[in-house]
């Protein structure tokens, strides 16, 4: 039982971090419209 709790805790923290990435992507992502496949349009 404690094993399940700590594995779930680990997954939840990394899931929160992954969600933070999604949120920050919105903040940063707008300028990416200027580049396509890694190079400037």
């Amino acid at each position: 039982m404690p094993d399940v709790a700590f594995i779930v805790l680990t997954i939840v923290v990394f899931a929160v971090l992954a969600l933070a990435v999604r949120g920050v992507e919105r903040l940063v992502g707008t300028d990416s419209a200027d580049v396509e496949n890694g190079v400037a349009r």
Binding site: D3, T10, A18, V21, V35
Partner: protein
């Protein structure tokens, strides 16, 4: 030789060794991360690794893909290390030790993956050799490499323009381990071995001492782990006494070698930075700020530990409680300062026994964000974020255009920099506040008054900044502390990495802006002074009330 002369000699030799390595190591690291020739690009063994994990090594990634690689690799590492400890009793070389308890295994797995190496346990009586070698030592390499590759991605953000690609995480990680950390660790493992550090598969032996008493002596693969422990600014000791143990750090020479290893990559990375952005003077400016903080910190701890503030210190010629006589005050102060201005956390003295103000400096070093020169990679990306804040503040103060390395510092970059400098203080102060507020957790304090607060403050400052050293006198081996400090370590490591890689992506998409009459030169003494001011005013003052109630109150009472 007098104590003062020994201190000057050690500091001089250390600075000389770092100066000798600065250019070749910095240039070599720049070469590792900028090798683009198709024929020399990947080593054969590297190509094998890329094929094995299914990575297209010739394709660069966006910052978000790079970051997802960091997070996925680290999440899998935590789960693997957790399982490894929980299954210890069934593994080879377990020395008959039982499985590590669940909350302790979680805390330790997180601790090693986040480069913290906070240890609630005694290594020699809790962990078998295989867990130490195949679990912890592997993460000593990997977690250190993760810090380095993150700062390399940030540097590419400054150096590149009009692209959304900041590199390939898997390529950077593999190269860092194979081309940088492994070779240096191998050489210095042999150096430490020659200096007297043990390395064997011996289990515990009971021996009879000269006084006729019995003592349990445990051997193990120590030298091979000691080098990467310091080089990678990890700090997790094979033994509970860490680098105060004679098998881990036998004499003043090995002590100096270990301090050198703690600092060398962080120092040389400033050269790498200068090379990669095409202006070495930028690296020298950052190095100057780091050096000023390191020298001030070492001098302050040496001063406070040499003081004769009590009858015992007066009789001993300094505050020798908790210090190894092999190293004395100079070797202990040098180590204590270097381990806390980096994210190492290895110790050769009991930090709880430092004088109140000496201990306060150790806490302050961590509170500054461990930037002088900091953890491998994490120190440099920390100070680069503060450099971004500095040019923004300079722009507000004197009407300069906020630019850094030909990139505009826009509201978006400032939001990310602000999130970076707020994250760690929030974790430290909320964690400390919670521990003080909860009656059960407050009972973990073994010393009353201001020193008790310092113990909790040190614990959360150390875990949130991924340092790993500790004041003794706090019973942290509880489910609450193991769980909460585990989460603090995860958030303290990876939230700043989220902001830093997002900053790298945001900068990389910009076009280069030529320096104009309104651009603040960032390689001159004015900028160095301003950056120091930002470090003190923006970062250190955030913690001033907590410092005032803990170390300052104790030191001035």
């Amino acid at each position: 030789m007098s104590t003062a002369a020994a201190g000057w000699l050690q500091a001089g030799l250390l600075m000389l060794a770092l100066a000798v390595c600065y250019r070749p190591l910095g240039d070599y690291m720049a070469h590792i991360f900028t090798t683009d020739s198709p024929h020399r690009k990947h080593w054969r063994i590297e190509r094998g690794i890329y094929r094995l994990i299914g990575v297209d090594a010739d394709v660069d990634q966006k910052w978000s893909t790079y970051l997802r690689g960091v997070l996925a690799f680290s999440a899998v590492s935590v789960l693997f290390l957790y399982g490894f400890q929980r299954l210890q009793e069934h593994l080879l070389l377990s020395l008959g030790l039982p499985a590590v308890k669940a909350d302790g295994a979680f805390n330790t797995a997180v601790s090693f993956v986040t480069n913290t190496n906070w240890q609630w346990y005694s290594g020699e009586s809790t962990m078998g050799h295989l867990v130490q070698m195949a679990g912890f030592a592997v993460q000593n390499f990997a977690s250190s490499a993760v810090g380095i590759v993150v700062v390399i991605a940030l540097i590419r953000g400054f150096a590149r323009s009009r692209t959304d690609r900041v590199g390939n995480f898997w390529v950077d990680l593999t190269r860092t381990c194979l081309r940088l950390l492994l070779p240096i660790s191998l050489v210095f493992a042999l150096v430490l071995l020659a200096g007297g550090v043990v390395d064997n598969f011996s289990s515990a032996h009971t021996v009879t001492t000269l006084a006729g008493r019995h003592q349990v002596v445990t051997g193990g693969p120590v030298a091979s782990q000691e080098a990467i422990k310091e080089l990678g600014t990890n700090g997790g000791g094979f033994y509970n006494a860490n680098s105060a143990h004679p098998f881990e750090n036998p004499n003043p020479v090995t002590n100096l070698v270990e301090v050198f290893l703690i600092l060398v990559i962080g120092v040389a990375l400033t050269r790498t930075f200068g090379r990669m952005v095409g202006d070495r003077r930028q690296g020298y400016a950052i190095l100057a700020v780091m050096a000023i903080i390191w020298v001030a910190s070492t001098a302050a701890i040496s001063f406070f530990e040499s003081g004769r503030h009590s009858a015992a210190a007066l009789a001993a010629g300094g505050a020798l409680e908790g210090k190894e006589v092999r190293f004395g005050i100079p070797g202990s102060s040098l180590f204590a300062a270097s381990t806390t201005v980096t994210s190492t956390g290895a110790v050769n003295t009991a930090h709880d026994s430092l004088s109140p103000l000496g201990g306060g400096i150790a806490i302050l070093n961590m509170m500054l964000g461990e930037i002088a020169p900091g953890g491998t990679g994490s120190g440099l990306y920390g100070i680069l974020v503060l450099a971004v804040v500095t040019v923004f503040v300079a722009g507000l103060m004197v009407g300069r255009t906020p630019e850094y390395l030909n990139k505009k510092i826009r509201p978006r970059e400032m939001k990310l920099a602000s999130l970076y400098i707020l994250t760690t203080p929030a974790l430290v102060l909320i964690g400390t506040g919670l521990a003080i507020a909860l009656q059960g957790e407050r009972a973990a304090i073994l010393n009353p008054g201001a020193h008790g607060l310092s113990e909790i403050l040190y614990a959360f400052t150390s875990t949130a900044n991924n340092n790993g050293s500790a004041f003794a006198g706090l019973s942290v081996n509880t489910v609450w502390y193991n769980s909460v400090t585990g989460v603090v370590m995860l958030l303290g490591r990876f939230l700043p990495i989220v902001w830093v890689l997002a900053l790298a992506g945001s900068l990389a998409t910009q076009r280069m802006v030529p320096a104009g009459a309104g651009t603040l030169p960032t390689h001159k003494p004015l900028f160095i002074g301003m950056l120091l001011g930002v470090v003190i005013l923006v970062v250190a003052l955030t913690y001033f009330p907590a410092q005032a109630l803990g170390p300052l109150a104790e030191g001035l009472s």
